[in-house]
Subunit: 343 residues, 4 copies
């Protein structure tokens, strides 16, 4: 086992910063050697704050530095394909935020490059590492609910991001539901064969300009004969609401909780508990655990449990969902690059 | 206020028997004078058990008996239109199980006959009387969640009825989801303008013969600009699972509970509570309260809060959902007979 | 089986009124023939409201009326002994509110009189009929938690009754905890052998005058070797909070719920449900079921499942708890009149 | 701020090992330089596993090593006083497991020694750092429940430790309830003025030999006029059950949860979730957070929020509870060394 994995984080927005912080302070065996961001000030500030010896505003410097073992890519999705290819080319292992890319052809190129250079790539589907989702999979594999026949997912954000973000987000199916597409594959143990999508603007009329909606549903079928539905919403003004459920032939498993603190307040106005406000609070452990898994795999010379192939499979569902939403018709998936066995 | 309403129950299957039992023993101001069923034995047995003075296997006897004020129709749906028209014609008030009819033209005839004869008609959407749904509506009207923007309904049966029932049921949209179509109108305070439906057979392959499915989803839009989705399933092997949720611009309201007894058992195998097994247990109070409302309205000479018009509106959604499921396309509703104001 | 039990309700305070209303409208086989209250106006008003043919302000009239089969005694506790004895003497069956009496000698006299006159007597420990407590007992008897070794009870009122009530209440142990003493016997299946009690005035300083407290705890031991504790409080400003728990050698059973409606409201201030406000809402079903049991026993000529003996046993614990509170010492119970087998 | 605190862990039983692991891998700014245990093998194994450069079986070596800044004492309670005094004497800061000592005189000596040597001492009341308890205190201080008037604590272990442990444990009041005594002070913001205790052996008859019990209750009064009760049990065969509740003049706050994973399984046998099995799972975060606080205080030259004074105050309550249990009488506390302001 390697003593230590030398890492660089590319992109120091909110997610990039967390990854950097986790690597710097909470992940045994990781050594954060460099942080990079086009805004030099932000790079310098993060480096100082986390005690990282090197910072840069030029990502190519990272690829030229032969001491770096792995890069964490948390830049805008439009830059993913280029950065992954360059990282692979320079022999660096890759952790990349979801979605892998916005485009299936790019995804294929990226996968080819990764393979040719014999590096590993983990995609940031952190939900798989959330203790509740991980436990659910364990229980499903143990047969506790029989054979899975239906997946039900809900992802609700407490409000919409600004127009600037929505514009480049890829739309609600690729930005939000993609988490559920991945977790559906993960929990159902089967590939998606068709999708039918619908959506509407319920609150944020500005989205019309971007052909996006703030509420959507995707109806799915699976190779196994199972089905499922996935709701996405930007309008949960009460908090961050992520639910998952898998119905099987002998029972059902319900995943997740809205409860923020394990404290209940009783007053004459009722019994109240706080609601998880946003994704950092809900998936704090998951973000840490996915990064620990990445570093652990590199130290042990193993392949991560969630790779660029999973990235492409989820993307394919998202692209199909987008197309169904636009055409009003069911879209069948080819699953050209299907993972041999998702379970 | 009238002292007493003399009633006859037509059809003594499971639901008819309950209505008879409620009228005979739990509804103040009701007098159950006659029970009718084509199976003479069943009619006689129920009469004896509930202390009803008269029973018959010929429904026309009920319509000829001028002492009867009201009939409760719990016969197969295919007989509803004929019975309602004959009841109206003989001046009797009507309580009829859902769906009103299986056919929109019949529904129109029935409505006309009811109007011409100045009788009242209540449709058996008992969910509106369930304390949880009723409380939810109260809270929504009080503005507790702001303006309703999304409805989410789940109705899961613990297993499929036999083929014989499925054959005449009208299909999952008219037999099961119709409860959610009605309750969606009730809680959203707005009429449905379009539906898109999907469904699959997940377990019960025998349904193929009847072009029916054991799992379905309906995506809805409302006049108010709101949307919603409704899941129906015959495959909840763990129990009877009815959920409702209305998201508003300031919060959300979640309705119902799987908990059967208010008792939690803690053992080394975990913390467990019983799940509501079937609809009699879940809606026991609702069945009693809807009948109490019907009798109360008749005693006070008032119109019931849920009438033949609501029966037709829900039917129209169900028929459209069925069509969308068959064609794979979104179906727009005409709402020709819309209720002036559902709230 | 007798067709009908003719009843009279004595005392038309809050509880008396409910019993009268249940008998008049919800209990099959009961006929409420007379209501009595020293305040003639109240008696007349209740008679009119519930359609009872006779009312009186003189209770002796009831005992002289040979058509009356049973009396329901809901008058102040100080009058119980006299009324029970007179009822028994005139051959009438008796339902009496808890506590049976305030005094053990009186309790013995009452028991003797009941026995000599061959009437039956049910004491108003309605908690035994609450569906949650009844289910708990069923599960305990079924062995679901092994052998019971600890009972934990909590009874909290949403505020103190007025001084006038406290003065004649017998104190918190006899007025409140007596329900838990009875239910502890019911669920543990064993008699109490010793009690140690403590209490304090936390809010209502006026209670000092009556040597009463608004918060108390009783520690119990049982013949079986089990133990338990019971908390009572007048200071639950958030609602009516009744909890029960039995720990066994293989698990634990937790009884009851604070939830009033099956509706959860999610807003930015958290997830909230209403709390049961007071005992009528919490024990509505229990009050109806205990009275249905009483009438049913009389119709079938059977002994009620909770009798004057249970009334005395609970009283004995309450008197001992009061003594322990006053002396600061553990009090052993003689259990002179123990029920042969409480389970 | 100091860059790094050099630590040694004394005693490598279960708790000592966790502290060592947390220091070695999860606490930023800590450097674990030495582990000590009388069993050389265990010391060596832990050192190897956690990558600690030095191990020893002789604790005096630690005190002689001037490079060590702080010691973590996780040895048997009987050794605490001696080790704390020697640590203070050699100028090392101290983290010591609860209870501080088993004896009040020793506690006084220890406190004196700590003061004279100007070192800081944190006592291992980890519950204060549990997110739920910490949030509860925040909410109480914010006035969310008004003025605290009652504390209710439950601590139940899933089974008894072996006789060897019970023998040296100090008994149930000093071994288990001491956590609740401390947390009661923490949440009520007031000192305890009297205790009355009771207890029984319900299952583990071997405890008789040690004058210990496997179930106990302590009734408390506070200077503020508040009261409280604390249950302790070794007999929760279903799991590890820790509950806290503070009733105030405007509401109540209920702390903690039995739920282990955020996953609910629905089958025909009911709806089930796993129960927290034991204290490592329940207080994992708390153990990490208390150690992070200790290191953080040392780096910033600040006093920990929970010190040797709190250790002595809780000990005083425990000693009094033990005495009340033995004598059957209420014991008043002198609070000779009271913390100036616990809130």
């Amino acid at each position: 086992m390697k003593e230590r994995i030398r890492c660089a984080v590319l992109g120091l927005g909110r997610l990039g910063y967390w990854h950097a912080e986790n690597l710097a302070t909470r992940i045994n065996g990781a050594q954060l050697d460099c942080v990079a961001d086009p805004f030099a000030e932000q790079a310098e500030k993060v480096a100082r704050e986390l005690g990282v010896k090197k910072w840069t505003q030029f990502t190519y410097e990272v690829f030229e530095d032969s001491s770096i073992d792995a890069v964490i890519i948390a830049t805008p999705t439009s830059t993913h394909a280029d950065l992954i290819k360059r990282a692979a080319n320079s022999g660096k292992h890759i952790f990349v935020e979801k979605p892998l890319t916005h485009d299936l052809d790019e995804a294929d190129e990226v996968i080819q490059e990764i393979n040719q250079n014999h590096v590993v790539c983990q995609v940031g589907f952190m939900r798989r590492f959330d203790p509740a989702y991980a436990e659910a999979r364990k229980r499903i594999l143990a047969g506790d609910i029989g054979k899975p026949i239906y997946f039900k997912g809900v992802s609700r954000d407490p409000g919409s991001p600004p127009a600037e973000f929505i514009k480049n987000s890829g739309g609600i199916f690729l930005d939000m539901s993609i988490h559920d597409y991945d977790i559906a594959r993960f929990l159902m143990g089967s590939e998606v064969t068709s999708v039918s999508s619908h959506g509407n603007i319920l609150v944020n009329s500005f989205m019309e300009e971007f052909n996006d909606v703030d509420q959507a549903i995707t109806y799915l079928t699976f190779e196994s004969g199972a089905a499922g539905d996935i709701e996405a919403s930007r309008n949960a003004f009460y908090g961050y609401d992520i639910r998952g459920e898998v119905i099987g032939t002998e029972g059902s498993i319900v995943i997740g909780s809205l409860k923020y603190h394990d404290v209940q307040i009783l007053t004459s106005r009722g019994s109240t508990h706080d609601i998880v406000p946003a994704f950092p609070e809900r998936f704090k452990d998951a973000y840490q655990l996915e990064m620990a898994h990445f570093i652990d795999c590199l130290r042990k010379n193993e392949k991560p449990s969630v790779t660029e192939i999973d990235g492409k499979m989820a993307l394919e569902i998202g692209v199909a969902a987008r197309k169904s939403f636009e055409t009003g018709e069911k879209v069948h998936l080819e699953n050209t690059r299907k993972c041999s066995s998702p379970m």
